[in-house]
Point group: C2
Chain length 173, copies 2
DNA sequence: CCCCAATAGTTAGGCACCTAAGCACAAATA
DNA sequence: TATTTGTGCTTAGGTGCCTAACTATTGGGG
């Protein structure tokens, strides 16, 4: 039988948060803790859903992002630039490019200017893949936030940005 | 030199979304696409930040969640139950328990009722670890959403829940 | 009473991500 | 010019997560 992780991991409840805080005699605000926990849970689920989404096309989130970034940049970019714009390590880019190259969606060429550098180029098949993906992809992206009105989306975007900003501040310590 | 993936992956911009939609002549709403893209990016970043956070204590998000769930359940639970309440596959639970067992935070015992079953129990060291973690953990969780007022947090929680609900609807097709 | 389907858990293999360490080449400096 | 320092990319090894394919054991229906 197939294993379906689906089936909602009983998202953390307010009571659960309260209980945990009480157990250690801490002075945290349960509502804040709940929001944070839900956000983290949502992040994980959205990430997995994205993986499933791209999986339908034989890609993954990381591979798609690399492809899209490449196209957005004229179809040619160095691994370092890709790592920077995708926000992942160069080692990860090596892995992503390995996979995409194996499928013929991308190719590596030695850099003309820099003897130790590479350039990753989008192949015709890679461009085709993006074209093939686009309609379903954008439809789905839109549907993800389709339950919110335009104003709500704007509010959400603002709140999300502030949370991310706060997180960045925390990360560096 | 150390590689610091930090350095913000130029979060997708509205223009970028517009450009991509235009390139394929699609009729998607750029704002909606932008919100969805930002949400996915934020999810990934929050997930990574959480990993760093727990890494400071020699744990990971998954291992911590398992430990916390175990404690919340009296310190004893079967792998299947853990998989269900954490929302991950049984195979993943096997991996998490392997790791936690190696560190002595958890132990496996054959189930008394079911000959093929196991029971995972929280050891004294595991309980200590949770106690040690708690203050920093809850402080951090709270700080994550500290940039929002109580009302804003409530709004955020509502919007987030609706997005997740919409996503669940999409997932099953 | 025995067989066979359902269930518990593990193993095997895949992908994304990371850090740390290595090799190649470039640029700056003595 | 020769050497050191920095940079570009890959490799090696680790974690988490997944699906699919076992192995054991349970328990219901012929």
């Amino acid at each position: 039988m197939t294993q379906h992780p689906e089936g909602g991991p009983t998202a953390p409840s307010l009571d659960q948060a309260r209980r945990q805080i009480a157990r250690y005699g801490l002075a945290a605000d349960p509502q804040a803790v709940l929001v944070a926990a839900r956000l983290m849970a949502a992040g994980a689920r959205i990430g997995q859903a994205g993986e499933v989404h791209f999986g339908r096309f034989g890609l993954s989130t990381g591979r798609y992002r690399l492809l899209a970034d490449l196209e957005d940049h004229g179809g040619e970019k160095s691994p370092s630039q890709l790592a920077a714009s995708l926000g992942v390590s160069r080692a990860t880019v090596t892995g992503l490019v390995d996979g995409l190259e194996r499928e013929g969606l991308v190719a590596r060429r030695p850099s003309a200017e820099d003897g130790r550098g590479n350039v990753v180029i989008l192949t015709a098949r890679g461009a085709d893949k993006l074209r093939e993906l686009a309609p379903a992809h954008f439809t789905r992206m839109q549907a993800l936030v389709g339950g919110l009105s335009v104003e709500e989306r704007a509010t959400f975007l603002d709140l999300l940005a502030r949370v991310v900003a706060g997180m960045d501040a925390l990360t560096e310590d």
